[in-house]
């Protein structure tokens, strides 16, 4: 595996010294996120999310398939998220490192297992035809905190996407093209978003670590929260041990932060909606 050259030791010394004063190398304060930007593609369901210099492109597409026999009323949501060497030279195509697995697993957990999408609403004809949504994530550039960026991109794309309207007459299913009838948005229960915190020995945690910060940190903690004050996923895999109160502190910060992020996401979607013609005449 390609291993990245470790940054010189003075970088770590300086970073710790700055953090002890509550400062970060890019001028942020400890619990500040990098600027989030959404770029909406021409098609519905195609969103690029930029978090500082990190960029992830998410694309949603839908097709009609036969449901599983044991769950005739449920559609599918497939998540494709392979991190290729495009994002950073440490990733290899075809082989996945531990970090990569953690990222893809956490994404899967935070979007699929938390039932963000109402899968029963994807049913067209019970036992016969259901929608299969495919969410493909392209990791364009890794400058730290791919996961948060990917979860934002994924939720933005799912909210941006619209599936064609279908009509069921008896056993027949008519799919209306977008020119005929306006496509309909997906039924989304809630908006889970990931927040990653990095921590260092005896220093307060920082939100949204950059690449350098995450290579030098002694552990990370990822929270997936929604605006309803629910923890969807919490993952602190090893690293420096934390007291329960410290974890609760981070959770409480995250609750507020997620609410702001959801608001920001909604605003961006709203702006895009205004400039886009979806309805038919």
């Amino acid at each position: 595996m390609v291993r990245e050259v470790d940054p010189p030791s003075i970088q770590k010394e300086f970073l710790l010294q700055a953090l002890a004063e509550g400062k970060r190398l890019d001028g942020r304060i400890t619990l500040e996120q990098r600027e989030v930007n959404f770029v909406f593609g021409e098609e519905l369901g195609c969103v690029e999310c930029r978090l500082g210099k990190t960029a992830v492109l998410a694309q949603v597409s839908a097709s009609i398939v036969k449901p599983r026999d044991d769950r005739p009323y449920e559609g599918f949501l497939l998540i494709n998220s392979e991190i290729g060497p495009m994002a950073s030279s440490v990733y290899e195509s075809g082989r996945s490192s531990d970090d990569e697995i953690l990222i893809t697993r956490l994404l899967e957990k935070s979007i699929r297992r938390t039932e963000a999408i109402d899968r029963e609403a994807l049913c067209i004809l019970a036992g016969e035809k259901v929608w299969q949504l495919r969410l493909t994530l392209h990791f364009l550039s890794d400058s730290g905190n791919l996961l948060d960026c990917a979860s934002l991109a994924a939720m933005a794309a799912l909210k941006h996407f619209r599936k064609p309207e279908v009509e069921v007459i008896g056993d027949e299913v008519i799919i209306h093209s977008p020119d005929e009838r306006a496509p309909v948005p997906l039924a989304i229960h809630h908006t889970p978003l990931c927040l990653t915190f990095a921590y260092y020995e005896n220093l307060p945690p920082i939100l949204d670590p950059t690449h350098l910060e995450s290579t030098l940190c002694s552990g990370t903690l990822t929270l997936t929260l929604n605006a309803q004050r629910e923890i969807c996923v919490l993952s602190k895999a090893g690293g420096t041990p934390l007291a329960a109160s410290e974890i609760m502190g981070v959770v409480n910060v995250g609750v507020d932060r997620v609410r702001e992020m959801v608001k920001h996401l909604e605003e961006a979607l709203e702006r895009d909606r205004e400039g886009r013609v979806v309805e038919v005449r």
Partner: protein, 255 residues
Amino acid sequence: MSSSRLEILNDGGLRHDARRPYELRSTSFALSTQSNAEGSSTVTQGLTTIAVSVYGPREPRSRANASHDRAVISVEVGVVPWAQGGGGGMKRTRGDKRLQEIGAAIRQTFEPVIMTHLYPRSEIAIHVQVLSADGGILPTSINATTLALISAGISLTDYVTSISIGLHLTQPLLDLSQPEESDLPSLVVASLPSSGKITLAQMETRLHVDRFQEMMDLGVEACKVLKDEMEGVVKEKTRKIVERMDVRGVAVEEQ
């Protein structure tokens, strides 16, 4: 969520296997169960049995992974084909990824606890084998790994013990079995019992923030109880070794 409808907690306050909410399953800890490995252990919690072997510190298998100032830890997790029982809900289509994730969690949990700087340019290989699975694979693996590392004589800063906690309505339940795990929101906590600090916390289902603290605190308490159990076993084992050494010491004196 699984579709099986089983009564998580009945009117008498008992769980489906007649445990009380805070009652752990019966546990058994055994040290040095494999003679070939530097350290090994077999841990049973309820119907979950996990064997762990530790090799090392030894020369790293691949040069590229070696680190010049500390030991690297590699973890491999395997499940024997018959472990799941008759389709006990652990069907894995892409199981490999899940096992790799458990392996990564174990590695990251032990990296700060093992004093890796004492063994530079070496590798500590941890092999985890799930012999039978009935919920709580990750916590049981962590407990077994702690014991295996102790039996290998590798320097640790503390024990690491781990437990799963579920929530039924407002009632937290400790040490979930497989049916409970698939029906309830659950949290896995691994902590260093002497400081009460948490080194691993994993949760995968939606839960309100306010309930979370209660579960975490309970988990930390349970970890302390587990540590006492484990320490008892370790002391018993070492007592035997010390006695054996004593006998030889006496024999030398007699000559």
